[in-house]
């Protein structure tokens, strides 16, 4: 039993990421897509009870690379995105 939380807005444009991270359970995952991938590019601490993933193609489209200061963030391609959806019972999108 686990929930995949998807966020697509940057932390500056929307409170979605902050609000999402506060409600993540230990067996849940957060997937950052679209402008939300700017979050791990910054050095601001990204913390939640579950795992955090960022979508590599959306990072590449914005010229972003893996940030060594965000050691807890894992990275997935589109196949990994699909696998995350398969591995979780439910998906919730935060706007």
């Amino acid at each position: 039993m686990a929930v995949l939380h998807i966020v697509k807005h940057s932390p500056d444009a929307s409170q979605a990421l902050r609000r999402c991270l506060a409600r993540v359970g230990p067996s849940d995952s957060v997937l950052l897509i679209e402008d939300a991938v700017y979050a791990p590019a910054s050095d601001a601490a990204l913390r939640c009870a579950g795992k955090i993933y960022a979508l590599l193609p959306d990072m590449a489209a914005r010229g972003l690379t893996r940030n060594p200061l965000q050691g807890d963030v894992e990275y997935v391609d589109y196949a990994g995105f699909v696998q995350l959806v398969v591995n979780h019972d439910k998906v919730i999108s935060w706007n």
Binding site: M1, A2, D89, K90, I92
Partner: protein, 123 residues
Amino acid sequence: MAEGMNGKRFLFVLRRFPIGGPQALEALDAALTAAAFDQPVRLLFLDDGVWQLKRGQPAASGRSPMALLGSLALYDIAAPPWVERESLEERGLTPQELTIEVTVLARDRVAALLDDCDVLLNL
């Protein structure tokens, strides 16, 4: 996750301001529709969604979800709905200021509630 005789268990997460857009009313409409089809429905009010419950909103203030809140029991919605304590506190609201009875839930219990359903809708 068992899909019992009563259908799938829905959890609607309601996070929108009550008026200023159709989203709050439409989300509540969707929840009531699911309930009308005999699906077990729970409601969780989070973030700005707690403003939907504020007492004292004029009933005629546009297409507000206010009027529907009183009829949750008619639709067999699991009552009282859940409301996150921190969402209330951050907005200076108390359960006594709400138009209906609610179950107050601490933020660190929200993840478990989100997981305890078959269909999760964040509207």
